[in-house]
Symmetry: C2
Subunit: 85 residues, 2 copies
Amino acid sequence: MEINLNLLGYVATTLTTCAFVPQAVKTICSRDTRAISLWMYVTFVVGNAVWFFYGIALGSWPIILSNTITFILAATILSLKVRHG
Amino acid sequence: MEINLNLLGYVATTLTTCAFVPQAVKTICSRDTRAISLWMYVTFVVGNAVWFFYGIALGSWPIILSNTITFILAATILSLKVRHG
């Protein structure tokens, strides 16, 4: 069985990128951030930024696009956490 | 300025993998999962599993290792979310 590696990579990228959509929606709607870890999202947002520059340096559109989307979602959750505690 | 791409990749991987440690610790200690999105962690755990198989197919140890760690952390948070609602 020949695995289409590109397809597998795009499916994995789409899942781990879109995963942050339900959390962003839930947090925007509920404003409840108590159970969310501030340090998770600080670390994750910084990590996304590094992945973004890695994608730029590599000239890889999938890495640039997925990390731009995840950065925006994670930064939204982080800003709500900072504001609502 | 010559950017060490490998180093950039390892830094990004370490940050986005370790980001889940503070959330796992906070959730294990507090048992408070109300603000955490169930669908985020269901999607993320599935995405991690796909990344893991992608790493196996590619024979890439960094992808295998980082996604094994993130899978364990995210699955821990998911199980607590399922148990505590």
